[in-house]
Symmetry: C2
Subunit: 181 residues, 2 copies
């Protein structure tokens, strides 16, 4: 965060005071469907995924969260609302947790903090919009190429079946696409 805006030492102090660092091991859950959750979570290292499991057991990855992005089912931050997605770690990871109320207070009282959050939200929205474009416009092969090009190197970091699940196709289809290229 410090790279995004220059906070005073005092401000950093305040932010750190309400932040809890949590290690999440590969395959460990941060949040499960149905649980109630009241934290904002920022990934400081590693990679997590937010995903839904459908009636037939297939996983659908809504987002990956890597360093300097947040993760979380925002809708579950509505008080008392149960989570609609699972979140677990793709790699051993560390997340910074800030309780919803503390987070709101920081947002109100530190304009810089508000700005940084806004920027992240804005970036997230644009990324989501790009992804929608790809999802409704491209064939499986085009989606994969687009993914490689948009996030170079990331495909090497995660298992292939997660790429498939993120792109909305089966592992088998992705495997066949890769063969012919």
């Amino acid at each position: 965060m410090q790279s995004k805006a220059d906070f005073t030492a005092e401000e950093i102090q305040r932010i750190q005071a309400v932040t809890v660092l949590k290690n999440v091991r590969k395959r460990q859950f941060l949040l499960r469907v149905g649980e109630v959750w009241s934290f904002n979570a920022f990934v400081t290292s590693g990679c997590l995924r937010t995903y839904a499991v459908d009636a037939r057991g297939a996983e659908h990855i809504i987002t990956f969260g890597i360093e300097n992005w947040w993760v979380g089912d925002q809708e579950s931050l509505v008080p008392g609302q149960p989570a609609r997605y699972n979140i677990d770690a793709v790699e051993d990871s560390t997340v910074a947790l800030i309780k919803k109320e503390e987070f709101e207070r920081l947002r109100r009282e530190l304009p810089q903090f508000h700005e940084v959050i806004n920027t992240i939200l804005y970036r997230s929205f644009m990324a989501a919009q790009n992804r929608i474009h790809a999802a409704i416009s491209y064939s499986a092969e085009e989606k994969y190429r687009d993914f490689l090009q948009k996030y170079p190197g990331f495909a090497l970091r995660i298992p292939q079946h997660m790429v498939a699940s993120y792109l909305g196709m089966t592992t088998e289809t992705l495997s066949r696409i890769r063969r012919c290229s």
Copy 2:
């Protein structure tokens, strides 16, 4: 906007001072691919669509903007960046335009305004995330049912081929889905 937060008469005055209302007739463009654009646009009545046209001429609708939502290719607000999407009116519409610089100033100087904008951005992001979920998880038929259920009545308001284009399928496929139900 007045319904979202109580502005003072003076604040409303300030907002109105920098707002230009523009009527856009059905099928008329607000923005074309490649143009440079520097406004934030809020729909006050009617309905607009933001869409891409692919190499083969097919349209892909990224978003609809109806009353009280904004429209626009946010990425084109980066200074000098040409728009990647077209925006035109689905019905005769009215949009409220605020120049990017004025908009930023309002955001800085009127906390209430900042809040309202944030809420809209937040809602937009969640809507985008829901749509991603549907796009990567559902079959064509499930997508259509989900759409009907999420936006009841909206399908009656716009031509069917636009629903198809929004959901990422062909008109013919949507037509066949509707027949069997």
